[in-house]
Symmetry: C2
Subunit: 343 residues, 2 copies
Amino acid sequence: MPPRPSEPRYGSRPTMKDVAAHAGVGLKTVSRVVNAEAGVTPETERRVQASIDTLGFRRNDSARVLRKGRTASIGLVLEDLADPFYGPLNRAVEEVARAHGALLINGSSAEDPDRERELALALCARRVEGLVVIPAGDDHRYLEPEIRAGMATVFVDRPAGLIDADVVLSDSFGGARDGVAHLIAHGHSRIGFIGDHPRIHTATERLRGYREAMARAGLPVHDAWVAPGSTAPGRVAGAAEAMLAGSEPVTALFAGNNRVTVTLVRVLADRVPPVALVGFDDFELADLLRPAVTVVAQDAAALGRVATERLFDRLAGARPAPERIVLPTRLIARGSGELPPHP
Amino acid sequence: MPPRPSEPRYGSRPTMKDVAAHAGVGLKTVSRVVNAEAGVTPETERRVQASIDTLGFRRNDSARVLRKGRTASIGLVLEDLADPFYGPLNRAVEEVARAHGALLINGSSAEDPDRERELALALCARRVEGLVVIPAGDDHRYLEPEIRAGMATVFVDRPAGLIDADVVLSDSFGGARDGVAHLIAHGHSRIGFIGDHPRIHTATERLRGYREAMARAGLPVHDAWVAPGSTAPGRVAGAAEAMLAGSEPVTALFAGNNRVTVTLVRVLADRVPPVALVGFDDFELADLLRPAVTVVAQDAAALGRVATERLFDRLAGARPAPERIVLPTRLIARGSGELPPHP
DNA sequence: CTGAAAGCGCTTACAG
DNA sequence: CTGAAAGCGCTTACAG
């Protein structure tokens, strides 16, 4: 049974056709009014606008997108919407998108490569014009057809896997090196490193920075001082306890990311003698803890901003070779990293 | 000049028509394969799939949505993507959407009512099927045509303004009342309240809870003890200093939300004699501060989950009268709220 | 099992 | 200044 003409379809929403009939004008005239195009007499415009208001018309952008071939939207795939580190990044991406008149569609992969892929491809199917991806997986070849078809893609925080694409990173290697050098400068020589899983690029880089700082200072690195792995509090606490026990306990710890840092703060709280700590990533209230926590800070908002600007450069037609953009980190000394060694 | 047939349009992406031509089958057969519908011989399916892979075809969901009338997506309008309070809420909304096979589109209003409206209507134009809104403004009549047209809408954290709609809230009144009663139980009678702008519903409710607790205990409330307003650190710090000076200084403070709490922790740090503090909203590391901070915690994830489940209930056809759902808060005593008064 | 035709709600290209 | 026709890329309803 076909719907009666008086019953507009599609969730009972009026269409331009309905508005045109109601106002007694042609379809194109309604389109002109809706899109504020020139060439409509004030009187006609008034009449059309009245019909729009009466019927509660709102343009269906699905149809518009289909016809125009542009969606004016970009996608963001992040790792975890609930991780405070990504809040400012997310917001920065949105602001840049907004400045370019684009809507942002985002979602989180929950660190699951399959989910990352599923989400990224769902965004592609909706024809976002560009994609900012914080990778969970390490094989992004699934995006090749999309990129060939003109989808702009920029990776953030971690490099793309097995494809050639723009990536915007913090200087994990240099930041970790400087953070560890800071501990060495304050007299430490037995320094432990507790970081994220080695399959994560940033984790590997930070570990490399740790080794570099130790090597530069001519200090040995015992296997027992290096504990990459899960950032689960139990694993991290266990690793720390092991390093702090034994015959040659460490006198300082370097934490490979914010989650590790927070766990270590708990482990080290009120410990005698105090253990020095420098963490990668700044976090709120780090300055209020006692001792306040010395960190290697990265600028999450800048990561998002630079990546999204790069994306829109490409959308505007720029075709530079894919590039690796590295943003500097900043050491913020607050107290925990300046504690002397207690042998 | 019309494009040559060998040059597919639309950002040079192949369409089902291209796939059909390439595989030597009809359009509908491609559609069947793409959507995994029954009624295609394995051999045909193989051939079509090979063409899909060769051409790098990906279904254009804009066209699909237009034809089907369903977008399988919902929208979330929040206040600030970078505020840690909304991270878990955002994530919870996404998880429920995902469980229902829907994509989440979100954006932040940055506390600007105009921007909230603009964003919400942009999502409507993209025909999201439902909308979860954390209101910035207090007039939501602009959504009336959408809701009449079948758009499910649920408000979270703050009620809708001037329209009748579902809303899911934390018990701001009861939580604040209990938090202040906790201070009173620990001997305080001169208690200050520093909260958010009175135009924000939760701020008003929390202030009401404060007054209720004081009244129940038979305690007077001096005007100088109540300072609603901006949550800018300067304003909050100034208000606190004023309450702590003067002839009848307060011995305890109640903070109306997380931003106020954090500022007050800074203001009160190392202060002698110590000032008791209870804050609305829990925050990470509250337990590591000295003293650890006693808070009235709300369950942000539950707010998002309950709201989104309500949304999908409506999308599934449920038509209950709009309802106000209030979730309980929980007092977490950690130290700062148990400090005795120092007159 | 397979496919041609019609149509979703817009915009484009064109004619009056 | 105004509008009828065609078409964006799919799915629906139908026929073979």
